[in-house]
């Protein structure tokens, strides 16, 4: 699984640290690290929580097109 650079960029754009985002969506910081590094495939529920917190949509953050 490829690294999720878009999520990292969206988080940084909102001035949130990994810890802040983790606390906001109710997971550990390691889970956020794993998602950003592409080591963990989050559930739809968690994806929606992250999108809501970062004011983005699912496709903006998690959709992988042909080019990756």
């Amino acid at each position: 699984m490829a690294k999720n650079v878009r999520m990292k960029a969206a988080r940084a754009a909102h001035g949130l640290s990994q810890k802040d985002l983790a606390e906001a969506v109710g997971v550990t910081r390691q889970t956020i690290i794993a998602i950003e590094n592409g080591d963990y495939n989050p559930t739809l529920r968690l994806c929606i929580e992250i999108c809501r917190r970062l004011h983005t949509t699912l496709d903006q953050l998690f959709w992988e097109d042909e080019e990756g």
């Binding site: 990994q18 997971v27 550990t28 390691q30 889970t31």
Partner: protein, 143 residues
């Protein structure tokens, strides 16, 4: 999140638990199958204890390595409480030892002090474990 594991931790814990169960079943059946075949191996119950220790050791070490031992948010509060209890128990044990030693009542000394001291030491071990987990959780900071 108050000490509750998140979805990644739950998945990881379940996967590690399943693998550990299979490992222990394999070791127990291997122990049973090789029984009396001339292999140098401890007799019952030491063989079972050894297999259980290997299984539990692997389980705990892998849980800590994968950050799936416990939720991280209220760890510091738990650690503070545990530290307070452990220190209290150890101080109580020391006071008991010095008090009872003066009376030279060895039976009473053994019956009271050992459980208190062991509980304090167990608390210290748990604290060390918590410290390892927090240290593990704080790694890979790529902010």
């Amino acid at each position: 999140m108050k000490g509750k594991m998140d979805e990644r931790q739950t998945l990881t814990r379940n996967r590690i638990g399943n693998q550990t169960l299979l490992l222990m079943a394999f070791l127990l059946y291997a122990d049973l199958g090789l029984n009396g075949e001339g292999y140098g191996w401890p007799a019952y119950p030491l063989n079972i204890v050894t297999i259980l220790t290997i299984g539990l050791g692997c389980y705990i070490v892998r849980l800590i390595r994968n950050g799936a031992f416990s939720g991280a948010s209220d760890m510091s509060r738990q650690a503070r409480l545990l530290l307070a209890w452990s220190v209290t128990l150890i101080i109580a044990a020391i006071v008991l030892v010095s008090w009872l030693a003066s009376g030279s009542d060895e039976a009473l000394l053994g019956s009271w002090v050992q459980p208190v001291l062991l509980a304090g030491l167990a608390g210290m071990v748990l604290l060390a474990l918590g410290w390892m987990i927090r240290r593990r959780n704080a790694r890979d900071e790529d902010e």
